[in-house]
Amino acid sequence: MRRRPGIAGLQNAAATRDQFRLVGENVAKVRTDVMKEQLATFRSQLEEFARKHKSDIRKNPIFRQQFHEMCAKVGVDPLASNKGVWAELLGIGDFYYELGVQIVDICIATRSHNGGLIDLLDLRKLLCQKRKATLESLSEDDCLRAISKLKILGSGFEVISVGRRKLVRSVPTELNKDHSGILGLAQAEGYVTVEQVEKEFSWSTGRAIDALETLLKEGLAMIDDGHRDGKRRYWFPCVTVSSDTTATEAKS
């Protein structure tokens, strides 16, 4: 088309632009409508799902885990906010927030005993006691999810793996490889001696004592000079299978 000069030409161009805009708006509106409809369907289906399975989600740990996997696939984090559609509909946020608060409670209550490091299994047992629930009703996965949410608090809540156990740390202690090695070794008997540590890791005496002294200062270890052989033993309340010890601590 040859471009024509003059007022008419300008008006024409404006009219064409208007038409394009109108069509464009129409398309956008249709798209939004479709989207809205899809969302409505999604929402109603979700509501139905929630109605049907709410109690399952609250009660059944395996179902909870599957639900989380499903959410992860869709790219939604149901725990991201307590105000989101998911949380409102499913009440699943509340479940984990409540769990989180109880975890903080227990960690603080047992801190003076274990130095702020507690076996995940012990923690689960205490949680179940507090909730008056059976151990099966609360999975490790649940605890881990609740703890991961606690990281936001920035108070050093973290799960660390030591040997075959998982420990929950509630104090911002820096544990290096030496320390976790010792904790791993202590899992066998609940205690270690300097000699044992030297032998196991082929460390110098100084290195072993250094690491043990740090653990002692952090309140994670206790010394025991009472054994017949006269060798000092370092005990670690956090790895000692003594759920009843920690249980009474938590109650008091």
């Binding site: 003076s112 130095g115 206790m222 010394i223 025991d224 003594s242």
Partner: protein, 177 residues
């Protein structure tokens, strides 16, 4: 759960490091607190009024885990009780310790309630310590010194009058309830 007679021992009593004085302050504080509570609970339930550091005391060793408290540890735990008014050294050498599972003032109230509840007005000191009325109660076998101090507190408040007999055995008290 380990027991000592009919007394249920707390779990920490079976955990060896609690028998060694802990060098780190916070751990030590926790340890001292647990022992203080245990000593008071045990003495109260077993009606033990004095602990001698020189003699064996069932609470200070656990044969099951082959651990026992050092002399220093015993003294630390008892001294902690003394500093809270829950115990008193009976000699300068800190060899014998009087355990006050009730503070003097609490003893005074306890005695007052006891005589009220039992409608008693006049008792001799020996009756309180070993008479029929107090048998099986916490007053049975109460340390004479503790008892006299509690009674004197009551006397100051005008709730009791101590009177002397012909001999120390005759000393008595009249309660005005």
């Amino acid at each position: 759960m380990q027991r000592l007679g009919d007394f249920r021992l707390p779990p920490f009593f079976s955990y060896p490091p609690y028998f060694t004085l802990q060098p780190v302050r916070e751990t030590r504080e926790k340890q001292v607190q647990l022992w203080k509570d245990l000593i008071l609970d045990y003495c109260r339930s077993q009606r033990v009024h004095t602990i001698s550091l020189e003699e064996d005391f069932p609470l200070f060793s656990n044969p099951k885990i082959e651990r026992s408290l050092s002399h220093e540890a015993k003294e630390v735990f008892l001294a902690a009780l003394v500093s809270e008014g829950r115990a008193e050294w009976m000699d300068k050498g800190h060899k014998k310790c009087l355990i006050l599972w009730l503070r003097i003032q609490d003893w005074a109230n306890f005695i007052l309630n006891f005589v009220k509840d039992n409608g008693l007005e006049v008792m001799t000191i020996e009756e309180i310590r070993s008479g029929i009325d107090t048998r099986g109660t916490e007053l049975e076998g109460i340390d004479r010194g503790v008892l006299m101090r509690a009674l004197r507190q009551l006397e100051q408040k005008g709730k009791a009058a101590i009177f002397k007999g012909t001999s120390a055995d005759d000393e008595g008290v009249k309660f005005s309830v």
